[in-house]
């Protein structure tokens, strides 16, 4: 079968509540980035319900991505999928879609680490080469930099992720998630009208942080009903963001790198961007933030990371394509960086 002249990779993302399909050329051009998000009726992500959403949405999202890119399935040279880390049922749904596509089209399959993908799409879109990365989302909060073949984790949360902390607080405050309006964005809007800084726990341990105590303290104050909600949102953000900014600055001072990259869903928050930009400036480093459409979980980042992996000799035979729920960033070989 003759492939078209431009080699393309299709990437499937399904680690948590978003099912995404992206198409990237081998040269790093993103042709499509379609997705469908599962919105729980109440509470957080129910893995089985999210997986059901993904299975139902897969056909539509795939079609949307292919038509946006103007690519026929038979033109695809490679299928990539997020192999982990994430929620089991969700990961397995995406992996099934990817395996089926690769087998049917008879093209190679490559499993991609979701955290690596968040970093790589940030680098691709901003032009950053060797940054200290702060990756903050609903499931991850870590500070990483490349050293000797892998992205090393310099700091991370000892308990819950930053996005998780903000989301749980927002839900407790009765904010509702809407399509196209994540809870974090609703919280950010309220925080912008905060006037008074309420004292909350600030927990930095070495290069790690702990957010669970902060969340408990903030929700306790919320339930007491004595503080303005805007002030609480503002104070929660200021404390949590100051903590991640401090550890990012520590990693920056430690590694002496000259670029900072902010990536992941919470990267869309302007206040967090402002803080990180401030420390970058202080250390004469260039500040980069992933564009909003690639901040949240997406298929394009999987497609692009799939290209990087495949063009550096990595493939994932179907029989080894089982999902890895706990695939830590620092366990992944990154042969495409010298």
């Amino acid at each position: 079968m003759k492939k078209s002249d431009v080699l393309c990779c299709l990437g499937v993302e399904s680690t948590a509540d978003d099912f995404g399909v992206g198409i990237a050329t081998f040269k790093g051009e993103i042709l499509a980035n379609a997705s469908s998000g599962y919105v729980p009726e109440e509470g957080g992500i129910h893995p089985r319900e999210a997986a059901r959403h993904h299975a139902e949405a897969a056909d539509k999202v795939l079609g949307e991505a292919l038509s946006k890119a103007g690519t026929k399935p038979t033109d695809l040279a490679l299928i990539a999928f997020a192999q982990g880390p994430g929620l089991g049922p969700c990961l397995r749904t995406g992996a099934t879609v990817a395996r089926a596509l690769a087998s049917y089209l008879d093209v190679p399959l490559v499993g991609v680490n979701h955290s690596v993908a968040h970093i790589e799409i940030g680098k691709l879109e901003t032009g950053a080469v060797d940054p200290v990365t702060l990756y903050v989302s609903g499931g991850n909060t870590l500070v990483s930099a490349f050293d000797s073949g892998r992205y090393r984790v310099f700091g991370e949360t000892l308990d819950i992720a930053l996005g998780n902390c903000l989301d749980v607080f927002a839900r407790t405050a009765g904010l509702k998630q809407k399509r196209g309006m994540p809870l974090g964005a609703a919280l950010e809007q309220l925080a912008a009208n905060g006037e008074k800084l309420i004292s909350l726990p600030y927990v930095v341990k070495g290069m790690d942080i702990s957010l669970s105590g902060l969340l408990t303290a903030a929700t306790t104050l919320l339930r007491k009903g004595e503080c303005r909600l805007e002030d609480l949102c503002y104070s929660l953000q200021e404390h949590a963001f100051s903590m991640v900014t401090e550890v990012t600055e520590r990693a920056l001072a430690h590694t002496e790198k000259k670029e900072v990259l902010l990536t992941g869903g919470v990267a869309a928050n302007r206040r967090l961007q402002e803080m990180l930009s401030s420390i970058a400036e202080e250390h004469d480093a260039k500040f980069n933030v992933v564009p909003r459409q690639f901040a949240t979980d997406n298929g394009a980042m999987i497609a692009w990371t799939g290209v990087l992996a495949y063009t550096h000799g990595l493939v994932t035979p179907v029989e080894e394509s089982f999902v890895k729920l706990r695939w830590r960033l620092e366990k992944v070989d990154v042969p495409w960086i010298k």
């Binding site: 991850n140 949360t157 000892l158 341990k205 100051s242 990693a251 620092e330």
Partner: protein
């Protein structure tokens, strides 16, 4: 009398800047915590003054526990500046990769002993990395940078302190982190005794299981 002269920037850290200076004819380190623009002024003032007040106290406590730390000369609470002894030597971070396996194990064992002594007296360092340990010319290991430390005798605090040490070894000395950490724990047990150290080690495993996307969670 309190005049500190000829300051030269040694290291611009995240938490503080370190200057080499002279005070009454001796070389000293001036540790200045400058305001951080990114956080609200109230929070900034709170963090800087808290750390400036606690760090010297903890360093003194550690010294009483038999852990070498630089002697404190001046504490300027208003400007969040501490003036302390300059310890001549090399960071353990720089030394560790260039010595024999045997010397590595010995060094890590001694680090474990120091952590054990500190913990026994209720001092938590809060940022145990090989950059914060100085091997002096006389061969003593000094612990520095107690800015994130606290007085705490709970298992949780001890466990986190050692867990951070392990993580620091993994990110900085990934080639031999496992072995180094084993030796740190060996030295630690020598001081605390098998039973008490065992409780801390169990706590470390619990802390690891709380982490995100770690294999340790499988056993939970």
């Amino acid at each position: 009398m309190d005049k500190v002269d000829s300051q030269k920037l040694l290291k611009k850290g995240a938490e503080a800047s370190l200057f080499l200076a002279s005070w009454h004819g001796r070389r000293v380190i001036v540790k200045a915590r400058f305001p951080k623009k990114y956080r609200p002024a109230e929070l900034d003032a709170k963090i800087r003054s808290y750390r400036t007040a606690h760090e010297p106290q903890l360093m003194h406590e550690a010294k009483l526990a038999g852990v070498p730390t630089p002697t404190i000369f001046l504490v300027d609470m208003k400007n969040a500046v501490i003036t302390m002894e300059f310890v001549e030597g090399k960071q353990v971070k720089q030394v560790l990769p260039h010595v024999s396996k045997k010397a590595q194990q010995e060094l890590c064992g001694r680090i474990g002993v120091l952590i054990g002594k500190m913990h026994r007296r209720g001092v938590i360092h809060g940022d145990l990395t090989t950059s914060n340990m100085i091997l002096s010319g006389e061969g003593k290991i000094f612990l520095v940078d107690f800015g994130l430390g606290e007085k705490n005798s709970e298992l949780e605090a001890r466990g986190v302190d050692l867990h951070l040490m392990k993580r620091a070894l993994q990110s900085t000395h990934y080639q031999f982190a496992e072995e180094c950490f084993r030796n740190v724990l060996r030295g630690y047990s020598e001081v605390l005794g098998g039973e008490d150290a065992g409780k801390v080690f169990e706590k470390i495993r619990e802390i690891e299981r709380r982490g995100r996307y770690v294999d340790e969670r499988k056993q939970a």
